[in-house]
Each structure stands twice: as C-alpha cells, then as structure tokens.
Subunit: 680 residues, 2 copies
C-alpha cells in the first residue's frame, strides 16, 4: 500500500547515535528556552524520543519540499513544546537556520512561542490553545481520505499518507479533542496516529487531581486502537508501537509514558519543568545528567546533523517517486488528474459561478437567506468538485445538504456531505485541518448562537488565514420561538472584532449569491450570517444591484437630496426600506444603505465610503437585531442606533421585533426627529 | 443516610394509573407544541416514563417550596423537551397554571421554548444549548458535596440531596459534557444521577452517522457507574435503575433505550419527530395509538392530577422534616448553623471587606493586577467563608489559590480550591451550577484568551443573572512571548457585547481591590481582566481615588482647562498618564480618564458621564491593547482610537507595545494633532 516510506526506513544505526540525536533535539530546545528566558523545556526533554523515532524512521516528508501534497502531516498539538519542533525542522533540513532558534520568541523571528502556520516551513498548523491540534489532525485525515477515495484509481494511489500528532494531557482534557476523537472513531480514520505524551503532570500538579479517567478505555470506547502504555522514552518501544499503529484500520492512540523535564535533577517529574526556563545551573546539570558533553549552547554535533540531514535525500527520493507516479496517473486518468491538481491548487474552476448569475432574478416569493444559500451552495457544488463540508447535526435547518453528492463516511469517503454530530467545536477545528491539508474548500454550518461553541478554531483560522466558510443561520431574534438561549445578540459584534475574518450578513437572496461569491474567492475565513425567516427578494429594477455587496456596503435606495441615511444589515434592511417609505410619506428624503459586511466596507477607499455615507449628512439611523456595539462608527455621535442591549425572548419572531422596538415605525420616528433637530 | 425521601416513596399503585399519568405528561407536551405550532414533541413522547418515575417516586422536592435548599435538583439538559418539564411542574403543583402551558413559546409567558431559570418555579437552570445542563448538574453536585462536607455534623445531615438530569444524545456529543463527566468521575460525585435518553436519533438522522462510540464504556472510563441499557419506557426498569444508582458511591449514568416520538404512527423513531409539531392529524393518531381517550387538548384526567398532586403533601412533609432538623442543628451547632444560613442566603458577612481598605496604599513596587487580585482574593476568602472556586489548570499563573483553605476533592470535599483541569468550558458551566445551587460564591480562572473556550456558559450565566466571578488574566499582548495564540484581541469587545455581564479591567492594584468590591456585591456575573505584567501602583495622593472604579469610569488626572481627554483601561492607563505628561511638557492640558468598565459607566446618570467626558471637548484619544470595536462611543467621530485591528506577536511584551504603536509618544502625538486641528 505504501510507496516509498517503508523502503526508506533507516533502522537505528547505533543506539549511541540515536541517543546523541535525541539529546541534540532536547538541548537545542533547552538552549532556545534559556536564551529567550521564556518557554517550555519540560515537554521537549520528555518527548524528544517519541518525536525522534517518528521523524527519523516513519515520517514521510521532504524538508526541501514542504508543500508536497502527499507528505505525512505532523502536528505538535502540545504547541508549548514549539522549541522541539523548531529543532526537528532545523536538524532535518527545513529552511530554518540555527539563527532562528537563537531568536526563539523574539520579535520578527520565525520561531514564535507557539508554532504558527506560515512562519517556519514544516509547521503544519498553529497550535498552543490545547485540543485544537488534535482536532486539526482529524480534519487532515478526513481530507486525505476524501481525496484518496475521490481521485485515486486502481494502481494509482496518489493520495496516501498518515497524519501524526503529539498530544498532551492537556489536549486530552479539552472537550474539543473528545468530540474529534469520537468522530474519528466513527469514521474509522485508520491513518491517524497520535502519540500521547502521558507524563502525569499539568500546571497545577499531578494530573490525578483533575484527570483520573482511564484514557485507554475511553479511546477504545471511541473505536480507537489503543497501544501501550509503552515507555515513551525507549526507542524500541516507540518504534514497535508506531509499526503497530500503521498496520491498523482504526485510528491509533499510542500511550507513551514519559517524564516531564527528563534529566533535570531538580525539576524532572514536576510541574515546575513545564513552563519556565530550567535556569542556567539546572540546564547545565541536566546536560551533565544526560551525558551531553558540550558546554556551548546550540551545539549540534556533526554526526547527529549528518544523520538528521539524511531526511533530505530520503525526502527527495520520496517526492520524486510520487511525482513519477503522478505523471503515470495523469496519462492514465487525465480527467481525474486535472481535477485533482485543481483541487490541490485551491484555484476555482474558470466557470465556477456559471449558475449563479441572476439566480433569483424575477423571484417574487419571499425566501429565507438560509434557503437561498442552500440553493447557491448546490449550484457551486455542481461546478466546484472539491467544495465539501457539513453541519453540526443541523443540515436540514441550515439548508446545507449538497444534493446528489453522497455522504462522507467510512463506507464512502468520497461523499461530500459530512456529519459532524452535535460537535461545533470539533467541526470548526476539523474544517481548519481540511483547509490546511489542501484539496478541499470546506464549509461548516450551525446556528449563529453556536458560534460560541466554536470560537477558538474560528479565531485560529483567521490567524492562519485559512479558506473556511462558516455558515451561521438563525442569525437573530427572528428565529422566534426557540427563545433567548438560541437568539444571538453579541455574536455579530464578536465576529466583527476578530482580525482577518470577513463577516457578511446578506439582506436577501440576491445578496446571498454575492456573499457566496466573496466567500469562495477569499483566501481567508468568511462567516455568512443567514436568516431563518423568509425575506422578500428585493426588486433590483428599482433598487441598486446586489453586487454592491462586494464593497461591503452600498446605497441600496438612492434619493436625490437625502436628509437622512438609514442603514441596515441582513433582515433589518427590509425594515430600513419600509422606514424610508414612511419618511417619504412625511416628505423626508431618506437614503437607504445596505451594509452587509463592515470589514469589506472599511477596506474600501475613503472616497467610496464617503459616497455611501456622506460626511455632511449627520442624521443617520442604523438598525440591526443585535448588540449595538460599534455602530457609532457609521452613525456618528449624532445618529441613532437601533439594536438590542438585552437578550431576546421566546415568541413568534415578528412579535419579538415589534416588542423590542425593531420596527419601521420607530426607525422612521427616530429619523424624523433627527431631521427636525437638524432643521432647527 | 437519607432522611425523608425513602420513606416517602410511593410505589406504583396501579400500572393503569401510572400509564395514565405518563400519557398526561406526554399529551400536555404534545398539545402545547401543537398550540404553539412550534416545539419538540419527540422527546416528551419518548422520555415521559423516565421523567415520571423519577418525579413520582424519587425526586425529593416540594412544589410549594421551590427554593428549599436541600431539595433534589432536576435538570432537563435536553432543554428542547421543555414542554415535558412544564407539564411535570404544573401537574405536581408548582405555581404554573395550565394557562401557561397553553401560552407555550408566546410573548410574556413563563413557558419559553427552552426552560429559563427564573420564569417558572422549579426550573433549576436554563438549558437548550446542548451539554450545558449536563455540566451545570456537576456544579450542583459539587456545591452539595462542599456544603455537606463543610457544614454537616455527625447526626446532622443538613445538606444531603441528589442531582438528577435527563440528558440526550446531543448532550453527550458536546465536548463540555465530556469535560464535566471526566471531572465528575475524578471527584466521585456519588449523588449525581443522569438518565440518558438513548434514542438513536438526532436531527440529521440516525446517530450512527456521527456517534458510533460505546457510551457505556466511555463513562466507565470516566469512573462512572453505568447502568443499562434498560428499557427507558418501562416503569419497572427505570425504577430499578434509579434504585441502583442511588446506592452507588460513584456518579451514575442510566442508559435508557427509548423511541423518539413514541406512539406516533408515522414519526416515531425518526428525526422528523424531533423539532416540529406532529400536526393535528398525527397528534390525533398518536393519542389513539397510546389509548388516550380525550379529544380536548390539554386534558388532565382528575385521577392523574390527584396522583401527581400528592407531591405537594410529600414535599411539605419532607421540607418540614428538614426544617425540624435544621432547628436541632442550630441548637447543637449555632456557629455552623449561622454560617450555613449565611452561605445559603448569599449575603456577604457585614465585615466581609475588612482587609481590603487601603490594601495597597503606600506600595511603590509595581505589581501585576493578577498578583494584586490574588492578594485580594485571599483577603476575601478569610472573611467570606463560602467564597470558593478554582482554575482550569492555571492557578499558579492566575494567582488564584486560596492559601490555607484546602483542595476540593473526594478526600476533602470541604476544600475551597477546585481543580477543573484543562477544561474551561466545563469550568464555566460548573460554576453556574454552583451558583444556581446556592451556598457558595464561585469564581473561575483562566487566561483571557481562553474565554473563547467558555463563552456558552458565560452567556447563560448572564442570561440567568448568576453571581459568578470570572477571573481572566494575561489580558493583552502584554503577556509577551507566548504569542498571538495566547494574546487576546477581540475578547474585551466580546465580553462587552454580552448583555447583563459586567466587565472590569482595572489599571492597578488599587483599582483591582475596587473591582473585587463590585464583583462580590453584584448579583450577576462579573469578568475581571487582569494583567500578567507588573504595573505601577498609582499615586492616589496625586491622582483621584480608586473607588471611582465603581462608577465605571472617572477622571484620574484632572486638569484645570483640559484641551484633550486621554482615555485608557487597564495596563494602558499608565500609557495615557505618560502621554499626559508628555503633552504637559508641550503646554497642552490633558485630562486622563480611567474607564475600567463600560457597563458600569454607561449605567451612570448622564450628568456624571458628561462630567467625565465633557461634550465640549471633542479632542479625545483612547488607548486599549485590544480591538477598537466600540470605542467611537467615547472618543466620538473626531477622536482617535489607539487599538489593535490585527493579531499580536511573540516577543517580550514591551517590544510588542512599541512595535504595534501602543506608546505614550504616539498617543501624545495624536492628541497634539487633534488639539492643533481644533485650534485652526
């Protein structure tokens, strides 16, 4: 089944050399932490053996070709051990000079405190917040299985790699890893292999105080293959366990007993080894205890380096072999090959939006934007063959099922509809893993209220600038009877506060089409906020075209000499339009602005922004069924913000709008008041 | 061990009457959903038997005394089955007339779509977002065990009750329940008994597609006692299982096989029974199938009502017995009794803040606000004996250990320092459960970045107006080397957007004291944002006193005729002060405002707010090492906001401040520019 890595495994030459290599990893990490006077030496000391055996004997990778699509993935879910990863990257020949290890945790270095995707090559994902890497790995294994089942052909196993991670006690305590592990077991992701650094220590002391569970039994319950406990600091044990794991059709958890801060005479096995430098003297003693003869920090013994750098030749041959096979595949299956390459490139097909033009033109029946979104998604799915995703058990409500595209599962890994279960947090982190892996454009779906359950992965996706599309339906009190537990208030502001995330709340079906256009074309995360309730499809013969959405905000209803500007987003744009009509009846000229995306609007040239919101018109009223936080930016100090500074209520949606004062009448009244005041 | 409930158990009189009662619950729920044309009939139909047996035979409660402290707690974690809970409350005699069931999910009713704490008596917590109720229950059981171990005395078991919950497939898929279950197992909370409604169905279809794990094995791994699977629709099975569970020293999970939508000829066992009304015809057919002879909706057969209402007499006797015992305890242990009563009242002792006055007066050594907070907490702990909480494995970093107050655990349930493990989400929900239970003022602690992991319970605490104090340290890029994965940006804005939550970011040790004063006195949730880095203790002989904090914002450094206002929060107040000095050197009079809490400030009378931020001074500059979202409210359209619209970076903290432009020099420059512009 495997093409190159089995043949390339280099058995331990001598235990002495292996131990020297392991100590080289350990002390590069220790020295980096000492120099930075900040960092986490304990895990590198304890986990270096596991990492070494994996990287030296099993990991299929090419340090000179870090983007090679069929490489194995390695995730350091215990991101605080970043110095160990940087040591491995440097030693095996990635473009990460020793100088960078000396600048660990310093401004502008490629070796930040926790591994950051995009800084050092070979860092497969940004980790640190615990549990995230665990779930990212599940996403990568899902992407691998999907690509393999979709594009491989008999005799042409183009996609076929493992996803490894090193996970800690803290990772396993976080709920997100529980969610991801349960799903990975259900999906039987056999090429997922996690090394669990089981060292009994977390920051408050022995893990007994909070984590007395039987981890092996728990993972068996999830359907995982559990190996060990083994001695995680024994080369042969780790070697054997990895071999076992690779032959298994289920995901594997290798339980590796280790000692945090191994070798440190005074700190080994204690929480104080975790998160602060050993100190000069203790570092010296640790080197002594482990038989490390070099006084000079950052010493790399030449024989160790020579051994590590064999990765370059192995990797080169491995990738070369794959490229040869890719060529053969391209000849035998030109269409599949073209599609696979396109999927891996992430480029959209030239005609990807062919069905989207004028999609809801002439429609006069009101339609919820979630419903419109579902239709757009299905149009996209027909042309973008690597557009895939799913929902946290809400597909029928979020309208996100891709019809006739199958269901992803162990019986059909090429299905495009994923079922995440009621697990929003893992869903977010898995989607990031899929995006990081490459080969798919993933989407997720749930109610906007449940963004709260998945904030950490959305943030990390923004930090990594990943293309993930988050569909959040039921985006306001308009959802009605389910009540305040399900009605978002603070969530829109929350999304807007995340750097590098674009949030779009379309007003109708036509804006929904444009929102999808933006989302698909971005190379970063986008959140789409969609209504549960039906909304009129705006008459674009009278109003401005919906493609104004791409600029974030636009004048929807123009007036010759406006006295007041009414601004709305999403479902409240219709209230603003109605308020405009009411004002007209009173002889007040109101311009109506649709402002579906603050981020897109704020990125426009100042001139455009002033066209939409002319500085001289200070009478402005905004309406949004959400927290008013931040609206002053658009309405100014003299304007009026109609929003919600309280929680919602359980009742039919229209009643709540009425009771909480989100009405055209009130908006018109506030606007008229402002106009009158300015006239005085 | 138990005082009254064993003797009060009423065995099944006749199966016919039991079945009639169960059907009464079912059809009150079905009829409520039909009338509302919205809701979830499936779970009530399937789970009514479990609920009935529990409420009829085991639950120690008094419908006429819903606040009786030693009642058993019942949580409907599957909050979508709210109509079933309302039916039980009405039938057993709580103050919830049938009329309210007829107004299910309507504006102003006490029967919202999901159960809301504070609306109908007997609703112990607000549920709906899955997994939350599961974890709330763990918090209640923790509070019970803590109170019992702290205040009970031999022969005086004043606190001794069970916590029950009904949990669904969705609850068990959410990570928060995994976290809470692992902790409950570690803590051996034997009086926690959960009925798992195992019906194989979630919204997207059969749970197989996403949830194939072995639930019994998983809970065994957590250290739970697992009973079943039993037939959850068989009275005797449920009765037996509850009896088993109550005799166990470990937490119990009773696996109850049920059929969602039981009785519905066309919808039973399908996802379509879950979240929408059966429809008139199907409701009729279901009643027919289950032998329910009444045509009229909301029928309560008199013999069923009579049976249910026996709860009132049982409950009265039960509470009376407890009150008698309480009197005996008060006599035998007057001091303990006084303390217990005070704890249960939630009132602060008269001298609760005796150590806080002038706590950091005269201190000239800089001190991090997290460090100051730790000292304040220890002062409070000495006088408020029921102040208890813990951290998500970060006590040494958050400085939240209560010295000499023991560690809460199964060997010492009276310890006051809790160890939540790396489980922020469960921590939040558990703290809510503790607060709901009463008898403690709980606090939680973690880094501000990890607020993202616990947003759902913080929101629900705000919705329920619970007294929980959230300590969030490492509140900005000032934390330094750990980098952008650990540096909050959007979190302060996010907290401010949550209704009914008060967020306070004190500037120094003295403001930290005042922040704690506010937090302790509130009957709602408070978030305290604290620095990792040291901060000067402001010289209050020169500057305004720190008790200005209680008004949310105050003039810290007054100037006779200010030309510009500089506003800051937390650690950035010191930058604003320095900028003020720089401006003074240039002959510009700058007033400096400390604005630690927007919510408190916005709640002040307009006159006060205008004193702090005089309308005529339009030159204003704000500084906060966080998202600028919302600052326009205070600086106005002509002002300048110095904030962060990007992620942070890994580097020593002072370097990041410098590189990202959060400096006194820049603030002074912006202020001078504004003043010059206004002069023109």
């Amino acid at each position: 089944m495997l093409y190159c890595d089995d043949s390339l495994q280099v058995r331990a030459m001598t235990t002495t050399l292996d131990q020297l290599c392991i100590n080289t990893i350990r002390f590069l990490a220790v020295d980096a932490v000492e120099k930075a006077r900040s960092g986490h030496p304990g895990t590198p000391l304890g986990a270096a053996t596991m990492a070494y055996v994996l990287w030296d004997r099993y990991l299929k990778h090419n340090p000179a070709g870090p983007a090679w699509p069929d490489r194995d993935r390695f995730i350091l879910s215990a991101g605080h051990a970043s110095a160990m990863l940087y040591a491995l990257l440097h030693l095996t020949g990635y473009d990460l000079p020793l100088e960078e290890l000396k600048r660990f945790r310093q401004w502008g270095s490629r070796t930040p405190g926790h591994p950051e995707y995009g800084l050092a090559p070979g860092v497969e994902t940004t980790t640190g917040p615990l549990g995230q890497g665990f779930a990212n790995g599940v996403g990568m294994a899902i992407a691998e299985s999907w690509l393999a089942d979709t594009y491989n052909r008999p005799g042409h196993e183009i996609i076929n790699h493992y996803t490894y991670a090193l996970v800690s006690d803290g990772d396993l305590q976080e709920g997100v890893s529980a969610e991801a592990a349960s799903l990975a077991g259900t999906l039987r992701l056999g090429k997922l292999i996690y090394l669990y650094d089981d060292n009994d220590i977390s920051i408050e002391g022995n893990t007994d105080i909070a984590f007395a569970e039987n981890v092996p039994q728990r993972f068996q319950a999830y359907g995982w293959h559990v190996i060990g406990p083994i001695n995680g600091m024994d080369i042969d044990d780790v070697d054997w366990a990895l071999r076992e794991a690779r032959s298994e059709p289920r995901p594997s958890l290798i339980i590796c007993r280790t000692t945090i801060g191994y070798g440190s005479p005074h700190k080994a096995g204690t929480a104080s080894a975790h998160g602060e430098p050993l100190g000069e003297e203790e570092a010296r003693l640790t080197k002594q205890a482990l038989g490390w003869p070099y006084q000079e920090p950052f010493t790399v013994p030449p024989e160790a380096l020579a051994h590590f750098r064999q990765s370059l030749e192995r990797g080169r041959r491995c990738q070369q072999d794959w490229e040869d096979r890719m060529r053969a595949y391209s000849k035998a299956f030109p269409e599949e090959s073209r599609k696979l390459k396109q999927a891996l490139s992430g480029e959209l097909p030239p005609d990807w939006d062919r069905e989207m033009a004028g999609m809801f033109a002439g429609q006069d029946k009101p339609i919820a934007t979630r419903e419109a979104s579902g239709k757009v998604m299905n149009a996209i799915a027909r042309s973008v063959h690597y557009f895939t995703g799913g929902s946290a058990d809400l597909a029928p409500s979020t309208k996100t099922t891709l019809k006739d595209h199958g269901h992803y599962g162990f019986e059909e890994y090429c299905g495009r509809n994923m079922h995440f279960g009621v697990r929003e947090h893992a869903m977010g982190a898995i989607a990031s893993g899929m995006s990081l892996h490459g080969g798919t454009i993933p989407y997720t779906a749930t109610f906007l209220i449940f963004y709260d359950y998945m904030r950490p992965p959305v943030r990390l996706a923004a930090l990594m600038k990943l293309r993930v599309i988050y569909i959040f339906t039921h985006d306001s009190i308009g959802l009605g009877e389910d009540g305040p537990t399900h009605q978002p208030i603070e969530h829109i502001a929350g999304l807007r506060a995340v750097p590098d995330l674009v949030t779009i709340r379309p007003a109708d079906a036509a804006e929904t089409v444009e929102a999808w256009r933006v989302a698909m074309q971005r190379r970063g995360p986008t959140a789409l906020l969609l209504s549960r309730q039906n909304l009129p499809v705006l008459d674009r013969a009278v109003l401005a075209p919906a493609d104004g959405l791409k600029r974030g905000g636009y004048v929807l209803r123009e007036t010759a000499t406006p006295q007041v500007i009414l601004i709305g987003t999403g479902s409240e744009v219709h209230i603003a339009l109605e308020a405009g009509r009411l004002l007209e009846q009173q002889g007040i000229a109101a311009q109506v602005v649709s402002l579906p995306s603050w981020e897109l609007f704020d990125a426009q040239p100042e001139q455009y922004r002033r066209e939409v919101l002319p500085a001289e018109i200070k009478a402005r009223v905004s309406i949004e069924a959400a927290s008013p936080l931040g609206w002053e930016r658009y309405v100014g100090q003299e304007g009026v913000i109609i929003g919600l500074s309280r929680f919602g209520a359980s009742s039919p949606g229209p009643v709540i709008y009425e009771k909480l004062g989100l009405t055209a009448a009130r908006m018109a009244e506030e606007a008229a008041r402002l106009v009158r005041r300015n006239d005085v």
